[in-house]
Subunit: 239 residues, 2 copies
DNA sequence: CGCAAATTGCGCACACTGTGCGCTACGGTG
DNA sequence: CACCGTAGCGCACAGTGTGCGCAATTTGCG
């Protein structure tokens, strides 16, 4: 009796393949990946885990996504789709650029895992959403009076500043999240160690002391707008 | 014969433990990790691989480093140590800040893997080198005339812009490296696909066409200094 | 000097990862 | 009805970070 195939759990338990689920698709996979990342962070993104959330096996995902790196590229372009870019209007270009920058920063802070991932993918992999948003931002700057070649430079300047700020903030918030504290009540754990760390560095202590009496969220906000105004002033001077 | 312990490779082959190697130490581990990262990239950093390069087993490293995340924090502070910060001098503050920014950008481009890693760690984890460099940069801005509270804002602005630019560049260079091309000869592979991607987006095509006739390195350089001058102009206007 | 205590390195094991291969069942066409 | 492309899945493999406990070496103390 040569045991016809080792896999015979039960020949009768067949016919359990239903098509109730909306089936797998690249869109569904990417959307669920974003949800998983928002809820549990970058380390928690595994093909097995993502498959389970979709009611599917791990390797089923590979029918719709080449590999994990490609999935991440898709996820990044997905969240680029959240960016809001106002219509071009010469009169209000400063407000429009400000809104773009705020939208980008808000997007990164809404998805803090993107800080890590943007360092791998950045603006290099050109997905459709990134292309579309870039085109419309260029239109805004173009209408503002920047020459075609210069609009590129201006856009890169604003985006670089905004991404740099937001990535730092996101890294900081992720650190807090890992330590289990919220931003308001981290005083006990981290403040003590950082205060000890900057001992003997008077200028850092000065700057640090200012953080005590203000809402940290407000400080981050002010910080961001201060630098953004600097950049915009510098750009305006070049018009 | 109950086989006294399964591990009896040879009772005679003992005494092979020598202390010729400088032994393991946190410094040696971190330094070798940086070397490995520079040579083979972030994905190639595994505890086993790093151990092998040091002539040690994987788990031996854990005597000197709590875990991989801590190793990465140490590595980041290690490369922060490469930053050059000029002495404070009111007359030449603009040149000094420029040199800081260039030094930071050069550091990131020298260690492209840091782009990914800075998105996790950023400026949040305060290692000794980061504290020291921050203190001295604050001194530069302080001497330039920025009030204590404002010097923080100014520094963050410059650093955010510089990190944003350099991280994007590093991500782009890493992408090229993964595809096996150098920056000059990527024309054949990637240019075709990106040109197709931006079809129907006139403003992006315009900006893209400019890249054809110039040295890409020079373009990146000009891009960086353009934005940096913007930021510095904005700061100067606030003095 | 000699012996005890602390430190260092390492083999093993575990749970988990990304992903290639080949099978099975389904949906649609002739 | 037969057929075929395709979606999903079980299995397997190599490789990961890291806890545990043993062995050897170094250090400290009498």
């Amino acid at each position: 009796m040569p045991a016809a195939k080792p896999t015979v759990p039960s020949v009768w338990a067949r016919q359990r393949r239903q098509r109730e689920q909306p089936a797998l698709s690249q869109d569904r996979i990417v959307a669920e990946a974003v949800r998983l990342l928002d809820e549990e962070g970058l380390d928690a993104l595994s093909m097995r885990g993502l498959g389970t959330r979709l009611g599917a096996g791990a390797t089923s995902l590979y029918r719709h996504v080449a590999n994990k790196d490609e999935l991440i590229e898709l996820v990044v372009d997905e969240i680029y789709g959240e960016l809001r870019v106002p219509d071009a209007d010469p009169a209000t270009w400063r407000a429009a650029v400000t809104e773009c920058a705020q939208s980008l920063r808000a997007m990164i802070l809404r998805h803090p895992w993107s800080a890590t991932v943007l360092g791998q993918v950045g603006l290099a992999e050109l997905g459709p959403n990134l292309i579309d948003r870039s085109e419309r931002m260029l239109a805004v700057l173009h209408a503002a009076g920047f020459a075609p070649g210069t609009a590129d430079l201006a856009l890169n300047t604003v985006l670089a500043y905004t991404m740099g700020t937001a990535i730092s903030e996101a890294a900081y918030l992720s650190m807090l999240a890992r330590s289990g504290q919220t931003e308001d009540q981290w005083a006990d754990d981290l403040r003590a160690t950082t205060e000890q760390a900057i001992e003997g560095h008077p200028r850092m202590q000065e700057g640090y002391a200012a953080l005590h009496e203000q809402d940290p969220r407000q400080i981050r906000e002010d910080n961001f707008t201060y630098g953004l105004e600097c950049v915009l002033d510098g750009l305006q001077a070049r018009l």
